[in-house]
Point group: C2
Chain length 260, copies 2
């Protein structure tokens, strides 16, 4: 990529905001941002220090357009972008939408730029440790996406649209389900007059360990030891819903987390 | 407690080691440690800079004895300790063993001193943020345990033997099951040629968020949104074992993590 390439970010949500700020930090600040409403366009434009508009036709010329809007809006926004920018490289940041959606929307050069992070509301996420998964409709687009990503993160990986689907479901296991089991622990504690924050060092330690070793090596607990006495006494303390989860999780650990 | 009370730690495993070092740091270093083998007794004794022995009868006089051995050894070790120390306050550090086990072993003054942390092998855990749960056979023993604990941590909570059972099962949900779902994510990724370390920012973010808000408030994802289209497409990508877990977890989230 050329350092002076003009990038436009279409969208002003959590991902678009974190992405715009990461681009700025890398010395590739967007020349303009778009949002559906003038208010949010202005908010992000002022944050980045670049142009902003709520009309796609009013966006300045650009070499690269990154679309980062909610999945349900992507198709119609992509059509407007492809019509405004017939020659630009058009990319989206959506985990579960195939790259072909951009070709179908009329883009001639297209790709995917997918930073793997959970974007919290009003929390600008730095991209340094985030893996950015890239895909390109042709070799030049793929290389461009790869080069741009490598300016934002040291972790850049090529992934097909099908692989991105697996990233999405894996993220549910790595991020949504841990939080759900935290809630189960919280229910058990609060019901018995005990403080949830007593679990925080354990939660942190479980997260910390998989930076150093595989989850297979990090597993501990009664199911890993196949300690049926403890598991039975635990199940006897649980209501039906929690016992079902406890059994399914323990069975999985005993079946698929054996060390060979 | 008196600053000059003589403390003996019986055991030299992960918990006994972390506890001995935390006691030392607080200015209450044990006067001696015991282990079943001379080698491990010496290792810990030298680390702490105190006496060590593998014979309980050879331990020096003490005011407080903290037993921290594997559950299966606790009863017989406690009998020897109660016989050697008829007048000392005897405490154990075991989550799932009732305090009465110490009375049954012959101790006249007894209590429980239970730091809620997962003790990793060869990893000395600082106690500053660890909640220490205490119990006492009488008011004086309880107060003593409470005072000693408050020298090691700002988080000291009274818990009955029954409550400690719930702490133990809650810890399985907060620590063992998150690691198991990390492994599920890892399986999905590796099978599809994708790197597990791309999940680390999500894992860290999920752990970080529950320091700031309840798991109920922190929950995100398709089940929380009741997005059945996404859940069905995810389930179609999973094998039987993972689909069972995905369904059970999603059903729990939809049923018990609704916001009121």
């Amino acid at each position: 990529m050329e350092v002076n390439d003009r990038i436009v970010v279409v969208g002003a949500g959590n991902m678009a905001t974190s992405l715009s700020m990461a681009l700025k930090k890398s010395g590739n600040a967007p020349v303009a941002v778009w949002s559906r409403t003038q208010e949010s366009a202005e908010l992000l434009g002022r944050l980045v220090g670049c142009g902003y508009t709520c009309e796609i036709e009013a966006l300045p010329d650009a070499d690269v357009v990154i679309i980062s809007v909610v999945d349900s809006a992507l198709h119609s926004v992509a059509r407007s972008v492809a019509s405004r920018y017939p020659n630009a490289l058009v990319m989206h940041t959506a985990g579960s939408i195939p790259m072909d959606a951009l070709r179908e929307a009329g883009a001639s050069r297209y790709g995917v730029f997918y930073p793997m992070q959970t974007m919290s509301k009003s929390n600008i996420v730095p991209f340094d440790n985030v893996t950015i998964f890239v895909e390109g409709g042709d070799d030049a687009s793929l290389l461009y996406a790869e080069n741009l990503a490598s300016r934002l993160s040291s972790k850049v990986v090529r992934a097909t649209s099908e692989q991105r689907c697996f990233l999405h479901v894996a993220a549910v296991f790595a991020c949504n389900f841990p939080n759900a089991v935290y809630h189960m622990a919280s229910e058990l504690l609060v019901t018995n007059g005990l403080p949830f924050d007593s679990m925080l060092p354990l939660i942190d330690e479980a997260a910390r360990k998989v930076h150093l070793m595989s989850p297979l090596d990090a597993q501990t607990g009664p199911a890993k030891r196949e300690d049926h006495n403890v598991m039975e006494s635990h199940k006897a303390m649980l209501d039906d819903d929690l016992r079902e989860i406890y059994s399914a999780m323990s069975n999985y650990i005993m079946k698929r987390m054996k060390k060979l």
